[in-house]
Symmetry: C4
Subunit: 231 residues, 4 copies
């Protein structure tokens, strides 16, 4: 089942490695089929380069394996929480990519300091609160999803397709596994830029709102002028 989605999820997992966002086996990508309410995700603890599409694991909304010989990613419940809360998304990545993880470890949002940032993320990339002891001891992975969802009350997750789990690392999402992957690449670049800019000038100012809006709208607004016309 879901053979095409398995292929796309495999490719997103392999692209995470190719872009240098995943070291050893520290990361995963998934896709969600809204019609069948099924998620396809990388198996746990294995290197993406060794896997075939048929190794991808299909789980239902409760996290029960519907197809596949392998155990799904340890972060399966986090992904499911996000798909449940964010209607418009169909792909998710989680990595420990170096610069985004530095901000997560520092418990700091990634400030919007330039147009590179605004081209993908509308505002600062938020960081969650730290989980409390009892939230870690019981249903840790599900709760990781819940505190990300907390950040988006009343907001559109597609205008801010990323969040940092405090002390942990980044999650990104999108309308497809490929879009989630591209947002993971963008997030890491934007984090590196912000990190280096802050070291160069501690009191740097955020990009003016009107410039942030211009760049975001140019690429994602209803009258977007960037890219080729979709057929």
């Amino acid at each position: 089942m879901l053979e095409e989605l398995k292929q796309r999820v495999l490719e997103a997992n392999q692209a995470l490695v190719k872009h240098g966002l995943v070291i050893l086996t520290w990361g995963n990508a998934s896709g969600f089929d809204r019609e069948q309410a099924m998620m396809v995700i990388k198996p746990s603890g294995l290197a993406a380069s060794d896997l075939y599409a048929s190794d991808m694991v299909v789980v239902d909304k409760m996290g029960k394996v519907a197809e596949g010989r392998l155990k799904p990613s340890a972060d399966t419940s986090t992904h499911l929480e996000l798909y449940k809360a964010f209607d418009g998304i169909a792909g998710i990545t989680h990595t420990h990519s170096i610069y985004a993880t530095m901000f997560a470890q520092a418990n700091l949002p990634i400030p919007c300091l330039g147009t590179t940032h605004a081209d993908t993320f509308f505002g600062d990339v938020p960081v969650t609160r730290l989980l409390e002891k009892k939230e870690v001891e019981r249903e840790y992975e599900r709760n990781t999803g819940k505190i990300i969802v907390e950040l988006f009350a009343g907001k559109d997750p597609l205008t801010m397709p990323a969040a940092l789990a405090a002390g942990h690392g980044p999650f990104t999402w999108g309308r497809s596994p490929g879009e989630a992957l591209r947002n993971a690449v963008a997030l890491e670049a934007v984090a590196e830029l912000a990190w280096g800019t802050l070291l160069l000038k501690q009191d740097v100012k955020r990009l003016p709102e009107y410039l942030m809006e211009k760049h975001y709208e140019r690429k994602h607004g209803s009258g977007a002028t960037y890219g080729q016309n979709k057929k």
Copy 2:
């Protein structure tokens, strides 16, 4: 038309990726034919590795497409402003390369701290002012070109073949698309060197003027001794 120029523009776009200056599709290179007053530029939003010379877009001085099935780069008007103002140039690049963009985000020029810098750039690489709200809302891309041109009143753009758009990123140019590309590589190296030198020693002094002049002249002056004799 302009088949040879299309090939060179394609190669410059692909070299930007190969040198690590372009992430995803964030960058473009163009070439200008002064006789026909036509610009050849990368199409918008596509990866250079997937393109052929025949995909390059030809536009006239007004930005109207003269040949090509694809939409030209969203930054087309910025390039045209620069070709219009800077007589001697025939190639331009725009990237979001990491270290040069850090200086753009910090709204700081790249100071001339060593001979590596002086070999290509005669003095600090300047940064534009921030565009005002009304300049962003209307003709944003053209105005981005205009505020770069503002920096060069009474100066020769070929002795300083680069500028940083504040909050945005670098533009470089040259007598050909290949020279603009080499200047983009040089700018990123020079930005990384300046960034790391400033972190090492906050109150570092600029290179003495006489040493800066020596290096610039050695490579670019009328009695240049660097390189092989041109046939």
Copy 3:
């Protein structure tokens, strides 16, 4: 003798280079066969890419060569001290990998700032004291092993499979040469993350203990949920 172990030791040495942890010939990996009480180690001063399994050197517990035409690594006595003191280990690496070595040079432990760290290392990665003059002049390499062992009095070296030799660089270990290698990769990533996080926020707090425990246990505890079931 020990042909299979030689192959694994060769592969670990080559993987150190592939992961960018070894520059020129600055590093080595070894394996230990507890039944025969023999160590297999890289020969001294040669590039791993030029070597075959049959070039690996077999030495006994005293460091005497039991098989091999080449001289063993200059760090042979350090490795032997660790195998002698740490019962459960069968693989060791030593490198001068960039970020871990920065902490060693600064004489600072690598603080546990995130789950990436806690996934492999239970707590701060410790740094040894500096060797005294007389410990350097006589049996320097053996003493390097001894001051690492000092750090682990009453502790399980498998929950902290790494240490920094002050002013020198990292050592890692594991149940096999491959596990030691993966721990070397993890250590360098964790060191880079900590380095960049400290530059971003000097007074950053350590990961809460309950979150550190959760991550370590999830991967290494008796009820570990990470990875596939071992056959």
Copy 4:
């Protein structure tokens, strides 16, 4: 003439690029034949990857071309000054490698902070004074060599096979072009380590003298234990 030396000089130039020490054409390696008193050096302004051994240029002690169709490196006089002053050397490199150049631009020596440094360089890597105006205007390249030589009055250049030209970049040397190349690789690693260590801990202490001596002697002393026995 000197066909074997040309091959070695070509290989050293290409290895500088392969190790990431040379960007575009910013660097060169040479070799010296003491019997014939002839230097073989890279031609000026060309990429090493495009060259053959027969493109290397042979110059005499005065810098006059003895063989070759191409112009020698612009830094030819600097190399010749070093060969003239330093009896025991037969290979030189000059690069603008990133981290070593940061120290040169900051006008700071590279402090000996660890054993990685002491394995190759006995003490801090020195930086020259800045050239005065008249030294730049006349015989600039020769004077660059002279101020490096100034640093080594009464010292053995083979125990410190590198120096930084202030505001410019590193030079390294050795008993052959290959040794000079390996010293260039070591210098860049040691510079990166020192840079990152200083950012992590501004008041870091130098490696104790007895540890520095131990490491240097272990690799280079009369009773060196590192590496294989030379036949």
